[in-house]
Symmetry: C2
Subunit: 553 residues, 2 copies
């Protein structure tokens, strides 16, 4: 005890999303972030994924607090699930906690949780830990890096960041605070790897202004701007440019409205009361007097942009002369839907600003030269790349080795479930737990097991057949014809006679079964299931999942 | 008759893939290309999509020939399906027809089809049509644009193309032939729009040589190059560079082996017999003496690259010191899988060349300045953008209007199923058919109906329950407890008692049913299905598809 720090990533290492990490010292443990993931299993009723917190049961008595770096879903999305199991005080910025509070309310546990609002530059002491909140710049506002001080040394967790010298809202990244830490000595730097493959510097949030200013200047009709509703800097830019160009802003879409309201209330967004208008008022204005700021930059079919493009949203639709600005990156997987949306906009005579060469979106994550600046400020003994798929973590390590003078053994690659032990002299992965993830279904339907997802994948791929056999308990004879019903099975139907042939085939197979065999209904079920399976495969090439039932009367 | 040409796209317009288009004149019709599509419905057992050829039944007696521009799957993938329904002679280049022949053999109809090998520069006359095959440059070799001459005028179909002045294999695009056509007069140009959003010129196939040469020079260990097996130019570059750098080439993967063999046999690939070696021989060489040329640039889990990266392929695996070159674009939708594959390669100590800034892949499709060159050579009266999602077609039109001097009414945007009538003076969409597409299942399982896919989507999303009720035909009473079986349903199981409660609930519901109602088994099924559905939704939040069965004894 007291001679080591343990770093334990539960999510976000080797994958995108679900960021969550434990830091343990002397029988005490704090958790940094509890994010959600965006799994590929959505066709199977899965909404989100969260880390499997089971591994924390072993440390239940040691957990002292949840520290949040910022309010993006991949950092706070699993907070309610974590807090339902472990009663922890939460520390975060005002905006982060406002987002968290909304979530806790949705889960009906807002009253039970202790939320501690902290400011950049302040400290919180819990047991052996002293945590400093360092102001970080990112695509969101009110973000922190954390300096976690223990008697054995300091661990820096960057959160998500870029070194933005001119954010639209708030100060640049607080490199001074980091340098001060670096001079006192940093044992380990756990650092965002999302853009570690990208050379150069990440552009500043202000760098989108010239191109957007031009676009606002050129547009003769209505302007429709869509971006992530959490891109608070971007929202401010739109409000500012609208004012300059004599336009009013009408905000559409639930999350966009909520975030504008919240960010304004907390003083992050600075909106001229004249500038924001409602939908009704917007209809009274000339086309060149209005900007619609809307949700749906990823072509989500329930969001405003999709509806404006393909149908209508509260009577509004894209039409001749409109200029639509996609001020967001395209998240991989969404290309086809977005391309369809753009097609729909063109069809209606709208103009789309989707040029990649116009700088109308910037990333929130550190590129290689940002990483250089941060790492040189923190001067860590060990570098631990976090936040990203393996490819990014590895490239982060390569960059540190080739360009920042780190020897191989000073960069520690870890995986979810690993326990990285820091002693002051050494850094070693001493244990590895299988962590995995938990799927959460949509509409509050709760956890969905891996086995359930596996079954859904199977029946979704091949369809399903229910087979009902009715036998006389006494004679062991068939009482009625087998019943066969199909869902999603190709090639088998009543019309082409294949269903009837299958039914007869099962009857025939049953005749071959001895009375004694038939009395074992589990055996009989399996026997007839396999028979029907083979029959269908050879006769029609179908391989449905078969659910056999035996009714005994 | 004789006073109009009709252009009828069956696929590939407003979508990527499934390129197929009819040209009709005076009661005769030719088909240009018959491609397949790559639908998003793969989780539902769908392998490919093909155009719905039903609409051709109306013209069955008029069809005179199938003309193929080149051998990519999105242009020839549905040829067997078309030819099974309509007996047509096929015209195409040697390589195209070699690919087609392979397909026809797989479908067991190779003997029945008349394949006519034609050369660039030659003509084929069928009825009123005279079709000239113009040599086109593309990422594949032996490709054509078609000049379809009718008494009313000439229609040019570009196929897929770029204006490559220095292809690795074969001649540049035959602009002379196109100019000659242009001077004689071109009524309509049907032109590839895939890259119509991209400014500038598409790089030549030769432009990848410098970067690849550098990479071959830098690599100290084994080289593993993955690309599309149909990128014949690229394969030649790899063989050539291997020779220069003193390496031998070992080709791995079925389609790669087949294509190398075929292209060499037909004289497109020029391989020094010393250079190509087998797997056994490759194992005898030093690491810096070998290049593996492998399938799987898209991270396909059955292809060689994935297996080399994550497991092994015939005992071979990526290891320390290997350099892996991804010489292909990442097709949208494959990012996650490819990123995983790259992570696996890094983990094993391999180096990946995936820099976007190194020119190791070029597109095969015309960018805006290629489009300019082609269009100015052909000088068409009308331009009809084809091949691409609406977004590309629209951008093609915008480019033609803004930069090529076309007035609005000289650029005709069409949709699949439209009939564009050209009279010499006018070009008008005179009719529109709903075309749609046909899904084909994997493993030769044939057509999969839309309704089947819809059902699979539903059961895959929510799971399925079979419900069996057994009643006495005479008394109308329940004879046995209801049977409930589940597949892929979340929240309902035997362990937590929910299954038993559901069963009881169905029994209770049955008791409320009158004898007369119970005698209508369709009514009873639906009644109990709805009852169980509501029960599960309110009790456990599950919404499975329920298959009810009534057994009467």
């Amino acid at each position: 005890m007291g001679n080591k720090i343990e770093i334990m990533p539960l999510g976000g290492v080797g994958e995108f999303g679900m960021n969550c990490l434990g830091i343990r010292y002397s029988g005490e443990m704090i958790i940094v972030d509890a994010g959600m993931g965006f799994p590929e299993e959505t066709p199977y009723g899965v909404d989100i994924s969260i880390p499997n917190f089971d591994v924390l049961e072993d440390y239940a008595d040691e957990l002292t607090g949840l520290f949040l770096t910022h309010g993006h879903e991949d950092h706070i999305g699993s907070v309610p699930y974590l807090l339902r199991r472990f009663d922890l005080p939460v520390y975060g910025s005002r905006l982060t906690l406002a987002f968290v509070e909304r979530k806790l309310e949705e889960h009906g546990i807002a009253d039970e949780i202790e939320l501690n609002r902290v400011e950049a530059g302040s400290n919180v002491s819990i047991g052996s830990f002293d945590v400093e909140f360092i102001h970080a710049s990112h695509s969101l506002v009110d973000c922190f890096s954390l300096a976690v001080e223990t008697p054995l040394g300091t661990v820096i967790h960057t959160g998500d960041y870029k070194i933005d010298e001119s954010p639209v809202i708030g100060r640049p990244y607080d490199l001074e605070a980091l340098r001060a830490r670096g001079e006192k000595g940093v044992l380990a730097l756990l650092a965002d790897s999302t853009n570690a493959t990208v050379p150069g510097r990440t552009p500043s949030e202000k760098d989108v202004i010239p191109a957007l200013d031009e676009i606002f200047g050129e547009a003769e009709g209505r302007l429709i701007v869509t971006t992530f509703s959490s891109s608070i800097h971007r929202l401010q830019v739109v409000f500012d440019l609208a004012k300059v160009h004599g336009r009013r802003v009408c905000v559409l879409g639930r999350s966009m409205k909520q975030n504008v309201e919240l960010a304004e209330e907390l003083g992050f967004l600075n909106i001229d009361p004249e500038t924001e208008i409602g939908l009704g008022e917007s209809r009274q204005l000339n086309d060149d007097e209005v900007v619609y700021l809307v949700t749906g930059s990823q072509g989500e079919v329930r969001a405003v942009m999709w509806n404006l493009a393909t149908q209508s949203f509260k009577g509004l639709q894209v039409s001749e002369g409109d200029t639509v600005v996609l001020s967001a990156r395209i998240i991989p997987g969404n290309e086809k839907r977005i391309s369809k949306m753009i097609g729909a906009i063109y069809r209606r005579g709208g103009n789309i600003i989707e040029e990649k060469r116009r700088l109308i979106h910037v990333s929130g994550h550190a590129s290689q030269d940002d990483i250089r600046i941060l790492t040189q400020a923190a001067q860590p003994q060990y570098l631990v790349p976090i936040h990203g798929e393996y490819r990014m973590l590895f490239r982060h390590r390569e960059f540190a080795k080739n360009h920042l003078g780190f020897e191989e053994d000073r960069v520690k690659l870890v995986e979810n479930g690993d326990i990285l032990e820091l002693t002051g002299e050494t850094a070693t992965v001493v244990d590895s737990n299988e962590i995995g993830k938990i799927f959460i279904g949509d509409n509050g339907s709760g956890e969905i097991g891996l086995e359930t997802v596996r079954e859904r994948r199977k029946i979704g791929y091949s369809g399903v057949i229910s087979l009902v056999i009715t036998i006389d308990r006494n004679s062991g004879e068939l009482v009625a014809d087998p019943l066969i019903s199909i869902k999603g099975v190709s090639g088998v139907d009543a019309l082409n006679g294949t269903l009837e042939v299958a039914r007869q085939s099962v009857s025939e197979a049953f005749k071959e079964v001895s009375r004694q065999q038939a009395s074992d209904s589990e055996w009989l079920k399996e026997h007839l299931r396999i028979h029907l399976k083979r029959h269908l495969q050879s006769e029609v090439g179908a391989r449905p999942v078969i659910i056999p039932e035996i009714v005994e009367v």
